[in-house]
Assembly symmetry: C2
Homo-oligomer: 107 residues x 2
DNA sequence: CAAGATACCTCGCCTGTCAAGGTATATTTT
DNA sequence: AAAATATACCTTGACAGGCGAGGTATCTTG
């Protein structure tokens, strides 16, 4: 059974930023990597992924550019911005706190 | 700064069940206890709490009865059902897994 | 008597997820 | 050569949960 999306909610943006904090990447690959790392227990659905990208872009946390593949499907690359790195660190800290708080409530 | 509600989402029902797994209780008190235990970093808003109760009741995870206070505001008590205890254990297990998965993705 | 605490509740908006649908190219299989 | 699969992108509209704002009623304290 894969992870309920409500447990992921609030972390999807952070997960995407995590991937981009290592290197520029594109939607399809980010998703594949997430699935590989979690043995497909976490999978961002297409629509979820792209609405997240739009949100991150709107908020200035990522920038985007088209890849120059001469062969194969075109790729839209994303790059994390300085602001994105800041928010990423904050989100990670908040996640640590949230984890501890929730754990303290579950008997 | 308190915990973003999107990080709690998916855990609110579980948190309520956690409280009820120790003893019958009522909305107002459950919320107070959550705030006390988390130094007010987690607070279930009124509307959130009561919509959660309705959901839990509909799903047969809690049952409810009116307290017999002869003084003060009336209290609606909730009691966790056997099914509720089952779901609670499942939710906790899923939370443990989700935590590990998310952590594995955050660098 | 006013204010605050206790205790319950509903309505309607907002946001994030996602099923379903679509486009286009390259590779592999039949 | 045609079909299937993989790569890669995107939009629309429905749905569910959270919650601001509003309400009711009782009791205690200043």
């Amino acid at each position: 059974m894969s992870i309920a999306s409500d447990l992921l909610r609030g972390n999807t943006d952070t997960i995407i930023l995590a991937s981009l904090s290592e290197r520029d990447s594109y939607g399809y690959l980010i998703n594949k990597e997430i699935m590989a790392k979690t043995e497909a227990q976490i999978e961002l659905k297409d629509a979820t992924l792209y609405s997240a990208f739009r949100r991150l872009e709107k908020d200035g946390l990522v920038s985007t550019y088209w890849g120059d593949e001469e062969v194969g499907a075109r790729r839209r690359y994303y790059s994390i911005t300085d602001k994105g790195r800041e928010v990423y660190e904050q989100n990670k800290a908040e996640w640590q706190k949230a984890k501890a708080m929730i754990d303290s409530l579950l008997v």
